[in-house]
Amino acid sequence: MRASDARASSKRSVLIDAPVAISTRWLAAGGVVSRIAAGILGGYWAAYGTAALLSVTLPLGKTDATTLSTILALPAHLIALLWAFGARTALRAWIGIAGGAILSYALAQVLAR
């Protein structure tokens, strides 16, 4: 096992052991609670905005667009959930997720007129 692997696995094991935030670059960079909120709550808003936007932009009849965009809200939420934990800092995650949610929802309301 190479030295870098040993370092990585020790960092990993320390990370996995900690139910509360401890001093590693990743956790300190955001705070676990913030990421959870971003992933779950923010993710739902992002899914909401995505569904709203797709319902008026998909090139299908109104009913079909509504059905498909409701279904596609799930992958949107999933992506947001993964992004919330994969992003470099929690702040970036929030900007991306909340920003995406607000933009898509606003655009949807404009287009729905």
Partner: protein
């Protein structure tokens, strides 16, 4: 940067998996049992046996009964015979009355039991429409997150595809978790996604709000506009015989008819709506035709649906798994058990990794608590499910609210398991609870004979395949759980030796 992404996915998988896993096990396990909820319900209602009934006979029996008992009702509905019994309903809404009839036209009743429906209800929303639905949906979402993060983290997914090394402690738990996880991957992705999306508009109303300005009714009506409705003419007229109407319907639908509704029976404006077989199809969208009861003329119908609607129908169909008959249901059962094993091995793996490391440190309280929660989240639930079969037979038949009582006992059994898991050391708790379940399952035929006078051999001899197979399956499950209990107990006796050589967490995940 790449290492950080893997680390964060690993964290999400471990902690998201742990917290959600305790609830997810219940969802996955009850869902697996619910694949055969109809058959379990049949076993739980031993009073309902009837000979095969042809469709024509069923229609005759149903019509006679309805003419006799509800001649002035606004609508009748008849479900074509299934398992030798036909179900009829008259009236609509709250005042609807229904009855189950056998081939002689007699009403058949069975014990008031929670039945297989109880398990299906637990799986769908923990039997609480509002909050429970959100909990189950959230579990499904996290399950998908755990799947994706699990794949990201499991770097050697192809190299380890066939790897399983038993008897090596934590390594084996990891191998086992990876094995059942990867093997059932397509199944799990499909089931988790389709489960979350089973009724998407109810949890994600955004699209309806935006495109239909919140008008749910307009949206649903544009997809499915139900049976053709028209006012009664208030003059009597003879309708075509039901078998003839059913035959016309089958010709139009190109599938067998599953059920029919008759509006304003006996009236000149009576409409008969025939619904095509839904259970064996993959797309769960109701195909129907409405015929004028007097002339047989086609009034309205829906035979095809748009691509998007068909997609939503396929999503439901894939989740329910009723499309391929018994064969596919068995596949779903086996894969569902494997998925439950995946959740359980994941939970046990969490403890297996930390137990040697944290003996005596501050963080030990969390590990100790998690170890105990694992026991009643998994084994405790299985005990409660086995108890359901027992209360079905044991409770006196004329009890008030018998079904509700069975449900309450289910939860009390689970609570007792929780207390047991708190009081006993985790390994002993596992062994004891698994052993209790095994005993309950293996003794089922004895209980059955004692309370109803029949057991699976009797069922088999009378050609009652469904009940025989249910009982046999429960017994086999009991045997497996007993073996598991024995293995856990034996491994526990060897544990002190292996603890002396703590294993370092090296390698994947």
């Amino acid at each position: 940067m790449k290492a950080t992404f893997t680390l964060s996915m690993s964290w999400l998988h471990t902690w998201g998996g742990l917290v959600v896993g305790w609830v997810l096990f219940a969802v996955v396990f009850t869902g697996t049992l619910a694949v055969f909820h109809h058959e379990i319900e049949e076993w739980m209602r031993p009073e309902l046996h009837a000979e095969e009934m042809s469709a024509a006979r069923g229609l005759r029996v149903a019509e006679t009964y309805l003419k006799h008992n509800a001649p002035k009702a606004r609508s009748w509905s008849i479900a074509l015979p299934e398992d030798g019994l036909v179900t009829v309903r008259s009236g609509g809404g709250r005042r609807a009355k229904s009855a189950v009839l056998n081939a002689d036209g007699e009403v058949v009743t069975s014990r008031d039991t929670a039945g297989g429906e109880f398990l299906a209800g637990l799986h769908a929303n923990f039997r609480s429409r509002g909050f429970g639905t959100w909990v189950v949906i959230a579990c499904g979402l996290f399950m998908l997150g755990a799947i994706v993060s699990g794949i990201v983290v499991h770097k050697r997914i192809f190299r380890d595809f066939f790897t399983f090394r038993p008897g090596k402690g934590q390594r084996s738990w990891l191998d086992g978790h990876n094995l059942v996880g990867v093997a059932t991957l397509p199944f799990q992705i499909v089931i988790a996604a389709s489960g979350v999306l089973i009724n998407p508009v109810s949890i994600m109303p955004a699209a309806v709000e935006t495109a239909f300005k919140g008008d749910d009714g307009a949206y649903f009506d544009s997809i499915y506009w139900g049976p053709y409705r028209r006012e009664a003419a208030h003059r009597p007229a003879a309708a075509l015989p039901l078998p003839e109407l059913v035959a016309r319907g089958e010709a139009l639908l190109e599938t067998p008819v599953e059920s029919l509704q008759i509006s304003h029976p006996g009236d000149a404006n009576s409409v008969v709506t025939l619904h095509g077989d839904l259970e064996s199809r993959l797309t769960k969208m109701d195909r129907w035709v409405s015929l004028d009861a007097v002339t047989g003329r086609l009034l309205d119908g829906q035979l095809d649906y748009s691509g998007a609607t068909t997609t939503s129908g396929v999503i439901v169909g894939l989740h329910l798994g009723t499309f391929g008959g018994a064969g596919v249901r068995w596949l779903y059962l086996l894969l569902g058990m494997a998925s439950s094993a995946m959740v359980a091995t994941g939970l046990v793996l969490f403890i297996a990794k930390r137990e040697p490391r944290h003996a005596g440190k501050d963080q030990a309280w969390f590990v100790k608590a998690a170890a105990r929660i694992n026991v009643f989240a998994c084994a405790g639930l299985i005990v409660a499910c086995a108890a359901l079969f027992w209360t079905n037979r044991l409770l006196p038949l004329d009890l008030q609210d018998r079904a509700a009582l069975e449900g309450r006992i289910f939860f009390w059994v689970w609570v007792v398991c929780m207390l047991h898991a708190v009081v006993r050391p985790p390994r002993r708790a596992w062994t004891e609870q698994l052993a209790v379940t095994a005993a309950l399952c293996l003794a089922l035929p004895v209980l059955n004979v004692a309370t109803t006078g029949a057991w699976f051999a009797t069922y088999a001899m009378h050609g009652d395949v469904v009940r025989a197979v249910v009982e046999l399956t429960v017994m086999i499950a009991g045997g497996l759980l007993g073996w598991l209990a024995w293995r856990v107990g034996r491994a526990g006796k060897q544990a002190p030796a292996s603890k002396a050589r703590p294993r370092v967490a090296v390698g994947e995940a």
